[in-house]
Symmetry: C2
Subunit: 349 residues, 2 copies
């Protein structure tokens, strides 16, 4: 049987073999640097490969090896710079180690997440890095996620958020600590009554950050006034609405903690509209840094984390899993860094 190329460009291992006067096994051996190949044969093969611009089909390799080199990345918000920075870190390491990344945006939707996992499963991804869309409170929803992940039967790293009832490698932020630090510093800077715009309290990370704030206030011998606890959801519009309402009533705390980058933006927008000056009329420490604010020279204080490094770490952990699969699950907590620029202090009283 004559081997006929399916398209004029893509040649197969068989044609390389024929042109080099060897068998496909030999070609495969030089391709993978496995087994014994004489220098003579190797050279012939390498020449043909170069001349013909042969590139082996990953699809065929994958099928044959029953293993791909594709890493699935499931992200809840592709329009949140936090996650794109993480993604950037992941791709960086993937690149170095010869993996490809297939990424899915779930837009915080459980349905889209289910679907993404199904698709990635079909692709037979080698490993998964996932930030769950939500903490599925519905038992059925949660079970579906558990099942999906288990069925995948591959190394999985959970990033930033938590999944209840299942133990997996986890790369997360020092959430409690970031809340605690932020509030403490506000107090240390002289602010007596502290407010907070929380994240989506359905998410453990939001609860942890909030608990940190609460504890810091308690530890300082102060009280957290109910009316300064604004129940947000990590989104710009909600934070904006909440802050707006607060300023409308003209009753707001001396210092406030905003629970993530999006929340900060919403807050700042409202403050701006009401001519409330940051670091003058109200003190603020945000969780998450915001590149632009630095560029603008705003004196925005925050507790920050190395987001790109979180991505790199996740991918490195995943690679560890590929090498050895201990039962032990790893927990990598990314520390928060305090960055004070002035907004933690009110210059007006």
């Amino acid at each position: 049987v004559e081997a006929v190329p399916q398209c004029e460009f893509m040649i197969t291992i068989r044609e390389v073999a024929k042109l080099a006067n060897v068998s496909t096994s030999t070609v495969s051996r030089v391709l993978n640097n496995s087994g014994y190949v004489s220098d003579f044969a190797r050279e012939k093969v390498e020449n043909v490969i170069r001349e013909q611009n042969y590139s082996p089909s990953a699809v065929a390799v994958n099928l044959s090896k029953r293993e791909t080199s594709i890493i699935g990345v499931v992200i809840p918000e592709l329009d949140n710079t936090f996650f794109t920075e993480v993604l950037s870190g992941v791709t960086e390491v993937c690149d170095q180690r010869g993996f490809s990344v297939m990424c899915c945006d779930t837009a915080n939707s459980v349905e889209k997440e289910d679907h993404a996992l199904y698709i990635l499963g079909q692709q037979r991804i080698r490993g998964l890095i996932i930030t769950p869309a939500q903490e599925r409170s519905n038992a059925e929803d949660l079970k579906r996620l558990h099942d999906s992940l288990e069925r995948l039967d591959i190394p999985i790293i959970v990033l930033d958020r938590h999944i209840d009832g299942i133990t997996l490698d986890l790369v997360c932020y020092e959430n409690y600590g970031s809340g605690y630090t932020a509030a403490s510093e506000l107090i240390k800077a002289g602010n007596k009554n502290i407010g907070v715009i929380t994240g989506d309290l359905q998410l453990r990370i939001a609860r942890d950050r909030f608990r940190g704030v609460q504890q810091a206030v308690l530890d300082a011998g102060l009280e957290l006034d109910e009316k300064y606890i604004l129940n947000g959801d990590f989104s710009v519009p909600t934070a904006y609405k909440l802050a707006k309402k607060m300023f409308e009533n003209n009753t707001y705390p001396e210092g406030i903690v905003t629970s993530n980058n999006r929340t900060t933006l919403g807050f700042l927008k409202a403050a701006n509209e009401y001519k409330i000056e940051i670091g003058k009329d109200i003190a603020i420490i945000g969780i998450d840094s915001i590149e632009v604010l630095d560029a603008l020279g705003l004196n925005f204080s925050c507790v920050s984390r190395d987001t790109r490094e979180m991505g790199r770490t996740s991918m490195r952990l995943l690679c560890d899993r590929f090498e050895s699969d201990s039962e032990q699950h790893k927990l990598h907590v990314v520390p928060c860094q305090l960055i004070l620029k002035g907004s933690e202090r009110r210059t007006l009283k």
Copy 2:
């Protein structure tokens, strides 16, 4: 020969067939909704699929069909929100149409781009959406890109930037027009001498935007002063350095055009440091909107484009190509939208 599952979770079409008491072809037919299948057989198969949670291996399907459903996306800066917004648009449409996206960040490096294309080629991607890392001035580099793309032998959409010497579907911005509009509006607002921080003039999009500015100034019967033409590269640090130098010498134009979102940020940073007030000491119209500035209530005027839609459009065009391959190459120019918020006018003279 007995069919033995390779792992307890992933079952194959053969096992489904056996459990349903049909042949693999029948299973394949219900899977693909192709050919004739009796209701009886279909039901049996569907039941088994559901019970066993069978999900067909995309790898095997791809190999068999000699075609994947993977779209390659090559992006020069994963840390530029413009590109992540585009990516978001692309994934959105991919999702709807059953494609997966494999994305590569080239960090504006020609070498990384070459490598990315090689990897994506190995994956036998179905289509490609690419924003080239650079306009390869070196003939050899350029030829390598041409060859890579040609060898891929798949539909390709070029996005935002240009590739010399090759005609492909192109989705780009109204670059000349955006420069022209920005400068015209500055002039219309009463600014007599106009400056500009250009992008990387190696890139045609930067040259086009700059030409637009030049022409608008000419058309207004004015002159573009050499010393107000700052040769940037679309990056924050360079724009910052250039603007800083300008403010240091305390000689700057009445109005300035910044050539993209990164350039604007660099400029604003410098302005801030030198206490130059936007819309007061100096007028500015940027190319590209910046979400955060709106949130901050800054009166930042710009010419903007619908970035996410650019991503959607690219993916839709790619799908068109899958359906029919006319020789005709499409050019989709995304119009610029003028958004005036005040910074185009100086309130001080």
